[in-house]
């Protein structure tokens, strides 16, 4: 029988596994959903998962480089959300629908 010390000793692994679970949920959302808005939300989930592991390593190795990187990731995430939502608005203006399959009309 495995010991239950993993329940009471919070280590770096706990945070990393939490981050991995969050990343998997975000990936499932990107793959399975059709609504472009929910797709962007799932991408935000994945970016947050990465942020958690950055901060975890930064805390356990006592270096602040990870936290600086989290700043950069947050900026990129905000920019990505702005551009993506502007694209979604223009898709919606044209098709009255935000389903991902309308993005195939973008080619050409």
């Amino acid at each position: 029988m495995p010991s239950t010390s993993f329940l009471t000793d919070i280590s770096i692994n706990h945070y990393l596994i939490l981050s991995a679970i969050l990343f998997s949920i975000g990936m499932a959302g990107v793959l399975l959903r059709r609504n472009i808005i929910v797709l962007f939300m799932s991408i935000e989930l994945m970016l947050n998962a990465v942020n958690i592991s950055f901060v975890t390593f930064s805390h356990y190795f006592d270096k602040v480089d990870g936290q600086v990187m989290v700043f950069f990731v947050m900026t990129i995430a905000a920019a990505e959300a702005a551009v993506g939502l502007a694209l979604a608005v223009s898709i919606f203006k044209r098709f009255k629908e935000v389903n991902i399959r309308f993005f195939e009309h973008l080619k050409g």
Binding site: S5, F6, L7, T8, D9, I10, S11, I12, N13, I17, L18, A20, I21, S24, I25, M27, A28, G29, L31, L32, R33, R34, N35, I37, V38, F40, M41, E44, L45, N51, I52, V55, T56, S58, H59, Y60, D62, V64, Q67, V68, F71, F72, M74, T75, A77, A78, A79, A81, A82, V83, L85, A86, L87, A88, V89, S90, I91, K93, R94, H105
Partner: protein, 178 residues
């Protein structure tokens, strides 16, 4: 069970449940609310990791600005419950679920080997610093060692702002007839 352990498990379960409801809710408004809940609990996780300033930034940028952006766009769209929220196709759906399952299996393997290995090594927790010290160290690092990245991000944000305004102002958006 000490308070730290309880707080960690509470936050972990809260984060995972709200992240799952982002993906599983069929009404996008509920997805947005669950995403806000996820952001708040991630900010609390940052606090438990003694990244106090990042927790504040997370609350302001994600739970504030990005969520307002999402909710505003949802308000523009006037969406009801979607008839077909999830992608269809049995074969591709199986592939997608399989891909997620492989990743989840990796996680379960990691958890299993981690439990089987017994103890995980003594965590080298640095001594608790005050939030002012941590923020000072972070700002010195950001403005001394990464100042070029900081300036580049400023330029990037300006370009993004101009591009977004241009994109949403142009007639027909990306589908302008020539």
């Amino acid at each position: 069970m000490t308070a730290d352990v309880f707080i960690f498990w509470f936050l972990a379960i809260l984060t995972i449940v709200s992240a799952l409801s982002v993906v599983l809710m069929t009404n996008p408004i509920y997805s947005a609310l669950s995403l806000a809940m996820t952001m708040v609990s991630v900010a609390a996780i940052f606090v438990t990791l003694q990244a106090y300033f990042l927790a504040g930034v997370q609350l302001i940028v994600y739970a504030g600005a990005v969520m307002v952006l999402f909710v505003m766009v949802l308000m523009l769209f006037d969406l009801k419950n979607e008839l077909q929220a999830f992608s269809r196709g049995k074969f591709t759906g199986a592939i997608k679920v399989g891909a997620v399952g492989i990743l989840a299996g990796l996680i379960v393997g990691a958890v299993g080997s981690f439990i089987m290995a017994g103890k995980s090594g003594a965590p080298v927790t640095p001594e608790a610093s005050t939030s002012a010290d941590a923020t000072k160290a972070l700002s010195e690092h950001l403005f001394f060692n990464h100042v070029f990245g900081f300036e580049a991000l400023g330029v990037l944000l300006l370009v993004i702002a101009v591009g977004t305004v241009a994109l949403s102002r142009s007639k027909g958006g990306t589908h302008a007839k020539h």
